[in-house]
Symmetry: C2
Subunit: 691 residues, 2 copies
């Protein structure tokens, strides 16, 4: 355990070292720093208001938890919430100092720009992972010492804090970034023929702020959450089925070892002399291979006599070999590779799905949309088959704990994966700063090239995030079941059921109409959630369009370059809209679970709800993020000069697809990922309240 925490500290140390590196890079000329300053200010202002809003909601939930559950759970919730907010804040802060330095680096060479952007992203990656490992680890040690009985419940509190805040951050940031982006594109590009990031577009600062608060802050909070929840889920399953020793320490060790492997991967990008895509993918490969090497001694050290678990289904004891546990961890690493590979196929410009969408743009807006939707539907097949295979294989190798280990191994790669993901918005912003501060065209060319790589990396990491979320949610559902069983058998249960009744209640059988009802209700949650968030983006973007049109009409000098637009009003509109619109969908999963738990037979229906939300959520998440990524790169492919190139009718159709994909891939799709976990975690938390 100490070794794991030490690794976490090493990760934080690496992050601090990289921050110094990034800060030491030149920050460009006066004009660049001014623009970066404006973006920075907008991002900080939004994030502060978001923290205030979420803080108020978190305070209410904290009090409710303290009253209806207990203080340790509430304390855990607070820790999870604060760390999740911190992760988001860190992600944003680092990105807004790295963007201008990337733009400056691009004036020198592509290599410099790549390093500045990647190291900026790597800081976030290391900090988020280190923070998650240390906070969960130290809290667990503390609680086991102060109040061992409550230690598991309080960990669930941490998970809820992390997940719920991350839903808010993903939604708020996602609505902000896409409302600004769509709004800026619609009037700027389509109506006024302005280029991306033209300083004459009044919504352009809001658009760049959005990249930071959505793609950086939102994403960092999201990955922190996924990582923490996977860690906690594995600890839970380990503690509940295999006891408090090695099975609980193992996930921490996996995380720790992978941090060291990720550090090596980061060094690899900095020293390698290859194309950006190869360098980035190479880093993932290096980190995974190294992790695979590290994991074996750890496994054989912790489980010298194998893993002894009480099977959830039969209650019988089973002994799995250390090899089985190690095999599960390898499956997780393989899943990472598979997710990266598959999403890359469906969303990168080099492969047929994106090219078919680009080709369909020639026959118009509608065929582009139809092709993109079809790609999204199609793209669910391979990831789901891989998930199914990992569940089957890891469950055969080491039971429910095996599934949990696979998830944890998969997420142990987060450090390096976030580095790839954060890379995208940083280069995007760097391009914006380059254009707005009038740097030569060659600079924009370099940042554009990196941006295209960043687009694919962003899509790839989203595939990774949703696949891991699906698996993690399955583990959480397992924990719900195990915890519910323990609770119903304990004297604390309010229902006082006989053993036969408990067995009946816990059968969770598909032949029970209550379970079918639950599956339908749970399946509905991602649909309603996405409907709300898509509408929110549509409404907020509409408000931006109206505002930009007003400014361009009242001050005709803006388009001629004689008048400065009022950037602030657009920033203000999206800030307010994002904060207002995120609340209802974010609270939907919480309220739904509590309501179902409160109705008669709620326990059984709830079981169905949990699984139902995972099933439809997984498919929607994958198809939305894939469609969105593919549309984005189909546009890029047309802009490279294919099918008529920039300005052609095909390009206009491709821009439509890209715009439709924006809320798909950056708001609704990725927010489903923490949402299905909130559903499952809240269910675990309400067990002692209702049953």
């Amino acid at each position: 355990m100490l070794f794991a925490l030490l690794c976490g500290l090493v990760g934080l140390g690496g992050a601090v070292f990289l921050i110094r590196q990034v800060l030491n890079l030149p920050a460009g000329n006066e004009r660049m720093r001014q623009i970066a300053g404006a973006i920075q200010e907008g991002a900080k202002a939004y994030l502060n208001r978001q923290i205030a809003t979420i803080g108020a909601i978190a305070a209410v939930i904290f009090i409710l938890l303290a009253i209806f559950r207990d203080f340790s759970t509430a304390a855990g919730f607070l820790l999870g919430a604060v760390c999740s907010l911190c992760a988001g804040y860190i992600g944003m802060r680092v990105a807004v100092v790295a963007n201008v330095r990337t733009a400056q680096g691009a004036t020198v060479s592509q290599k410099r720009a790549l390093q500045a952007a990647f190291n900026g992203g790597a800081v976030t990656g290391l900090l988020v992972v280190g923070l998650a490992l240390l906070s969960v680890g130290i809290f667990w040690l503390m609680m086991s010492w102060i109040n061992p009985e409550k230690s598991i419940a309080s960990l669930v509190g941490v998970a809820l804090g992390a997940s719920l805040i991350s839903v808010f951050a993903r939604l708020g940031g996602g609505i902000y970034t896409k409302a600004a982006d769509v709004g800026a594109d619609l009037v700027g590009k389509v109506e006024s023929n302005l280029e991306e990031d033209d300083p004459r577009n009044p919504a352009t600062i809001a658009d760049n702020v959005g990249d930071n608060v959505g793609d950086c802050a939102g994403m960092a909070a999201d990955v922190f959450e996924t990582y923490a929840v996977a860690l906690i889920g594995t600890v839970l399953v380990g503690a509940l089925t295999a006891g408090l020793g090695a099975p609980v320490v193992f996930p921490f060790l996996l995380g720790g070892a992978a941090i060291i492997a990720s550090l090596v991967g980061i060094v690899f990008v900095n020293v390698s002399n290859t194309t950006p895509t190869n360098a980035l993918i190479g880093a993932v490969v290096v980190s995974s291979l190294l992790s695979a090497v590290f994991f074996w001694p750890l496994t054989s050290f912790l489980f010298p006599e194998g893993l002894r678990v009480r099977d959830v289904l039969s209650g019988a004891e089973t002994v799995y070999s250390a090899g089985g546990v190690y095999f599960s961890s390898l499956l997780g690493l393989l899943m990472t590779g598979a997710a990266v590979f598959i999403t890359n196929y469906y969303t990168a410009t080099g492969h047929s799905p994106v090219r078919k969408i680009a080709e369909a743009s020639v026959t118009g807006h509608a065929t582009n949309i139809i092709a993109g939707l079809a790609v999204g539907l199609h793209a669910t097949a391979l990831p789901v088959l891989c998930i199914v295979a990992s569940i089957w294989l890891s469950h055969s190798a080491a039971g429910l704990y095996g599934i949990a280990v696979a998830v944890m191994a998969m997420l142990s790669m987060s450090g390096i994966i976030i580095s790839l993901d954060a890379f995208g918005p940083i280069t995007d912003n760097a391009g914006g700063i380059a254009v707005m501060s009038g740097l030569p065209k060659s600079v924009r060319t370099i940042t554009d090239e990196l941006d295209a790589v960043g687009n694919t990396m962003k899509a790839v990491t989203k595939g990774y995030a949703i696949a891991s979320a699906g698996l993690a949610a399955v583990v959480l559902f397992g924990s719900y079941f195990v915890d519910l069983k323990h609770h119903l058998e304990s004297p604390a249960s309010k229902l006082h059921l006989e053993p036969a009744q408990i067995e009946q209640a816990l059968s969770f059988s598909l032949k029970d109409p209550k379970i079918i009802i639950g599956l339908f209700l749970g399946g509905l949650l991602p649909y309603l959630f996405s409907a709300f968030s898509m509408n929110a983006v549509g409404r907020a973007a509409g408000a931006v369009v109206t505002e930009v049109r007003r400014q361009l009409k009242q001050h005709p000098g803006i388009l001629k370059g004689n008048d400065t637009p009022e950037y602030g009003t657009c920033v203000d509109i999206v800030t307010k809209a994002a904060l207002k619109e995120m609340i209802v969908p974010a609270l939907l999963p919480v309220v739904a679970v509590v309501v179902v738990a409160a109705i008669p037979d709620g326990m059984m229906i709830l079981g169905g709800v949990l699984v139902g939300s995972i099933v439809t959520g997984l498919f929607m998440g994958i198809s939305m993020t894939s469609s969105g990524g593919a549309w984005d790169n189909a546009k890029k492919y047309v802009e490279e000069g294919n099918f008529g190139g920039k300005g052609s009718e095909a390009h206009k159709a491709a821009v439509t697809g890209d715009t439709v994909g924006d809320p798909y891939k950056d708001t609704s799709g990725p927010a489903i990922n923490p949402m299905i976990k909130v559903v499952n975690i809240v269910a675990i938390l309400v067990i002692p309240i209702f049953f």
Copy 2:
């Protein structure tokens, strides 16, 4: 039973009477008859080739069934397949004689046009329902007399025949109609500024043929299937859980009584003097109320001492009151009302969802699409909540049989509902004939008004179809379970399991990873299926666009009206494309179930697959048909002069939405409905082959 069959005969009699009525109407002038003849010929040619293709596949399946199952099942399959093909053929034949008479009627008055179109639809409605009731009833009586042991298995054969053929018909017809429609719109409306149905558009005959083979023939086969499967599902559940007496006769009686009620509804439309919408909705209300009145004496007559069932879960005997059974049938009628009401809200021009999409068109193509997608996601909520409520209430009232009775009661309304549905494509075609034969503008105005009503009716009946399919599939899954249990306990089982093993194997518990795996795999089926069919439409439409462009380029006289386009080549292209593209997706559910059944532990995974396909299929079906209907009417709303009206930028965006919605609402969405039933029926059929 005889009474029920008599009602079926009365329905057929009514249909014959209406056919004479329709045929006696004047068929218009020479030009009109020519054009109608061309459409008729194209539709007949396509349907003949479709029958040949499907016939070949059906022959293979017939042989496989005869070898691996038994001859009675194969015979049942043949009957179901032939009747399903007949239903489609009838639907098409009646529509192609009613369309020109509707156009002629519109030269006199709206009332005349309404009567011709509605009575044409009503013929299909009565024939399909009468055919289903008589064929299933007579086959059941025959089999019970010849080989009572096999009678249930052979009924499942009928269900498979009906469902599988209907998947083919829905897909083939859907791909045909939408490829022609999208193709005609893209070059005709968008590129060459031609009006809808302009005779200068080379794809216009193909487009009108499509309405008949997709919306009429495909739809008739689909409803025949839903009706037959609901009937068979209820007979199955009744026979397996409550014995072969009254519980088996009851669904036939419900169907028979509802035919009489539907006849009254049809008379109502012909004599009422109100707006078209009110007349049509009024007919549904009249038929439902009358059915509710008829159902009570039937229930109390058949179940004087209530319903005695062996509960599927516990095996214990339970007695439900006749009131409970009657209550379930009322729930089914209420569900019909709810489905009509809810879909009407989301897809009619009078309500906010459609108006919001129209408003979003002002800011461009992309916002129109985002708004439409959001409406589709949102539109799942109320239908799913209603379905959940009906499952809960009908199960409480009369167990699994109660759910089945609710479904059967819901589908007993099919006669009148199809009349509404078929009304749409007939008026659509009438409008096309009016324009192409140069009738005065006033005629087109009348058919356009009726067409708008028809659009909403089509959307409404699709909501009804998918909601009833969801419920019917739940009943089929129940039958799968019951049948599997009987089979495993019988000496015929190949697995020879002990009672404890059977209980374990049939637990179908969500805590078993195999079930989760099954849910994911099953959930994937509707996604893959839709991806294939969306792509098929995109490809075929692209081929039409290329062909139309070629003709317009090679013969510039076409656009000036000096040259006649070669309509035949477009008809030929879509015919070939539809027949080729329908095969893979239609066989996907069959192959998937067989493959899963063949793997180890396939029995348990299969249980998950069945439910998984129902869960994601229901949501996709509802959201696709709702989005599509809403987009269509948003365009109509803009064309009425709102937000800039015809020719404005908003109108172009609305046309894009409508085009995207075409494959959503007329190909992929409605085909999911028979698809999820095929999955469940094939599962029942493979039980004795693999287990």
